[in-house]
Point group: D2
Amino acid sequence: MNTIGKILTLTTFGESHGPAMGGVLDGMPAGVDIDLDLLQCFVDRRRTGQHMGSSMRGEKDRVEVLSGIWQGKTLGTPIGFVVRNTDARSADYEEIARCYRPNHADYTWDAKYGIRDPRGGGRASARETVARVVAGGIAVQALNRLGISIEAHVVQVGPRLGVAAEEQERLVAEAAKDGDTLGGIIECVVRGVPAGLGEPLFGKLHAQLAAAMMSIPSVHGFEYGDGFDMASKRGSDVMDLFVKREDGSIGTATNHSGGIQGGISNGEDITMRIAFKPVPTLMRPVATVDREGNPMTLQPRGRHDACVLPRALPIVEAMAALVILDNYLIKKTNVL
Amino acid sequence: MNTIGKILTLTTFGESHGPAMGGVLDGMPAGVDIDLDLLQCFVDRRRTGQHMGSSMRGEKDRVEVLSGIWQGKTLGTPIGFVVRNTDARSADYEEIARCYRPNHADYTWDAKYGIRDPRGGGRASARETVARVVAGGIAVQALNRLGISIEAHVVQVGPRLGVAAEEQERLVAEAAKDGDTLGGIIECVVRGVPAGLGEPLFGKLHAQLAAAMMSIPSVHGFEYGDGFDMASKRGSDVMDLFVKREDGSIGTATNHSGGIQGGISNGEDITMRIAFKPVPTLMRPVATVDREGNPMTLQPRGRHDACVLPRALPIVEAMAALVILDNYLIKKTNVL
Amino acid sequence: MNTIGKILTLTTFGESHGPAMGGVLDGMPAGVDIDLDLLQCFVDRRRTGQHMGSSMRGEKDRVEVLSGIWQGKTLGTPIGFVVRNTDARSADYEEIARCYRPNHADYTWDAKYGIRDPRGGGRASARETVARVVAGGIAVQALNRLGISIEAHVVQVGPRLGVAAEEQERLVAEAAKDGDTLGGIIECVVRGVPAGLGEPLFGKLHAQLAAAMMSIPSVHGFEYGDGFDMASKRGSDVMDLFVKREDGSIGTATNHSGGIQGGISNGEDITMRIAFKPVPTLMRPVATVDREGNPMTLQPRGRHDACVLPRALPIVEAMAALVILDNYLIKKTNVL
Amino acid sequence: MNTIGKILTLTTFGESHGPAMGGVLDGMPAGVDIDLDLLQCFVDRRRTGQHMGSSMRGEKDRVEVLSGIWQGKTLGTPIGFVVRNTDARSADYEEIARCYRPNHADYTWDAKYGIRDPRGGGRASARETVARVVAGGIAVQALNRLGISIEAHVVQVGPRLGVAAEEQERLVAEAAKDGDTLGGIIECVVRGVPAGLGEPLFGKLHAQLAAAMMSIPSVHGFEYGDGFDMASKRGSDVMDLFVKREDGSIGTATNHSGGIQGGISNGEDITMRIAFKPVPTLMRPVATVDREGNPMTLQPRGRHDACVLPRALPIVEAMAALVILDNYLIKKTNVL
């Protein structure tokens, strides 16, 4: 249940204020060159303290690879890795143990397990995503060698669409000043995917991508191609007509389908959009209840992002990479 | 890859014009009363010829249960079932074998397997959903005994929101008259789900629901709770404050979260919306290419829906039922 | 839990006296020629009434393929199939519903599910193996095209080793005359397997083969290569020294390892032995208890084999074929 | 492929001379008391240097739990752990990189992956079992709380049966003096298992146990109950007749079935025997070939056990514990 993927599988572990986060990436093909410095750079894109309105928690997030890569190459064996938690300040979170923060997982966690680690949100903290980024960063390098690239960018912050980086920071700062937070939308494009990836039924490529993206903390919606807009169109408006390209291959003149038809990639760019809710931790007093349901007021504390979108970009790319590479491997088994 | 679920698993098979569609529902608990007449009624809701603009293919869709249910009760053994294809007219589809229909899976299927059954779309036909509805209908009956109910309804047809049934039919008829088709949005509500279902990480309840819904043919988007609207809001706008109910239990005053927090159900109604693209088969000539990429014109033929939404309602409910019941069973393993 | 395999998966269903046995073979590569007459012949090898001491139940065991094979070729889609139960005489089994037969699954089934189908043993009947043989027979045909062949033979009946077919029949007839039954040992050899199949850790090729063989009804032991004899030897006695073959390839001079080293095939013949317990149904009165634990005597009835080994040969071959083909496909994913 | 289990899953990683071995135990129920000192004691039973004829490699094998256990209780989250490799002397192994040791996995590994870590056998080293013992030790503690206990003991060393500890050491020393090695047989008994665990078809309890035991390095055979002896008996010889016990429960007078009938536990002791081949590394020159197939002589070096059986006892217990606890959890899902 902490594992994703079929051939290429990622299993992660770690609580926010435990000794370390980590994971096991299994099923990576053997003999793939992996540049660990490049991997660290990819992971660093997710770190805090780099963006306006991001948490002040100062984790170094040094990736320690424990197995599966030797002399710069994958061995075909599972890649175990850890990222130490070095800047956990658990004192900040003691109150949380006896109350339920709204729009957090405190209540549901208790309902499920009857026990939870309240320090920094425990495993429900978005800190778990560091393990996704490590594994995804490895998958990205493998995909790049196949000519496949992945790029995510913020296309909406709060109500504002198509915002430039500066504008983003201004909007987030504005909300943060009010002790408030913002959501937004990330678009992700995967280029260079060969036609034929994805499974026709329950494992449609977009269904796998949806599950992967919806598993990222705070995500509330997923669409691919023209997505929800498709619903309001007539069939004739969104028809991606086939064309014969100069090199003799078959492509489509438009890409309303987002590079996936019948759950299988068609060789066009894969496009998807992911909606994030605003961060649930406000920097102002919030009315809530304790474990017995009695009203109480929660005072703001801890170190939290006012908007997670900039930090979420490598997470989205990582999840896309894991799904695409897994399906690339699955496709190899479609013929004898 | 034709299987969904963890404890409760559904595996399906069948091509549109082969002898039969069918499936195996495994992991159903033993001793659950199943009413096969009620099941047939559930499956009948998906049949063609009942709605304006729906396909004229006249399948009876009689469910034949082959195992796993005896004397009206589940045995705990796999429930095998078939639904015969009795009204397949393969002659209609011969041209398809040598061309690629736009927005269909013909091209991608060839790219993946190098072979396909062109009769009626083969396995890429939405006819495969009959197996989902059979299995989901069994899950619905089990959930009902637990006090859990599921209801899907059409909330948008083409560009029109909140349409009544008559209005729906008129809009679809209008498009059909032009040889065109419509998409739309279905909302699904699950009531009575206890708090604590869903897995915190990759198996978030909404991630599983997203994968299940996105695997339905023609679906292009999924959101739960306030979904994409969440992205444009501030944190303080969408805070579901906790309240102590009269019976002493804890609930929330609002439900922007759609009944799921941190990937785990919180006891409120689970709400989600699913966007369907317009049916890709138009009843008018369409420009396309053959398998070598040469231009050709495809003449309209066959029997096709102009809008799938009314028939999709039981499919959406079926997929929701399978996911919820599976997670209900998984939760039993969270304590020793 | 009624599914086996990773890429190539078999899911089966069916109770002995229900309408049909059946299954879904998923993950078969596309474009493989399958001869359905040959498949029927393979399945017929498992039928009753062909061997001395075998059950008189006269099932025809006609295989009906419902999907996944078209015009003699696999489509890459799941292969659904059923085999009807046509000669079930449930009246024979009514007493069983209220008692527990020794060495059968009646008691354990009740302990697990609280309900069971007593007709012909329900799903606990060895009749379920017909679905394994259908699926395995398809896998055998695919393997044959790869130059891989599988052959099982009886090497022990009761206490007698290396028995010829006539001698076997005489021994079984002798036991049957006393209303008694016999066990024995089957050896299975897989030839032509390329080096490199199998997973190094939990999925060692022999671990997968062990699980597959031990899942066959009545099997009590599994060994590969020199097996249990290995335990009593010194390392120097069982060393399979490497040799360079005339064609330049590397092989071993002996094959104590049974074609598998470190869980991975080495290109030599894969050899294994499977021990079957004697059939638990005697043709004489047996003391037992009813569901409340009260003593009672069970009178012999029904139609039962006195020795299952001849009929088990295609079952063993089928299970071997499923495992080998699955691992053949998995190996394709070991490189990018 | 480095994962075992269904609800309770163990994923391991690590090469013999890499930085660390480790694993993730997922699916452990929440709220179970775990004594980490007791766990370390369990792991220490597997360490080298404690038995005659065991390797001189002096690993401390300190278990570092990184997640999933807090304040002495499981959280329901994945339990990540590492055991550092501190005494790896890779210089000993350089020759291995260019040759294939007989009865080792060097050749098959190259055939599979085209690359391998030759230091200490890489992932093919039995050092990987330390991760199994850590995870299994946690499962043992959970089982003990349920009244279930597991005990493995050596019942054969080389050709000698029923040997006492002193005699074992003498036999091993004798072989070691000749630069030779010994195999043997371990018996494992699980007491206190409730009736009803195990899946009737492919997941028979003994099939799962077989797969788990056969996945331990050097194991060549598995049997449960009377095992291979069953094959030479008549049905009437091995009938476990039912009896009503004084407390009203139903048991069997004998236990030829080894506590499992129809793949499901019947409440009697579960008994099984596991055959180990002799250690493949001899302490004398061995003729072999290099990667091109040219003959060469391999000189003895490194630190190796002359007989692994004493150290294998906790490994066998660990694997049994993982399987039994997993099936205990699965059984909870058999009713609604």
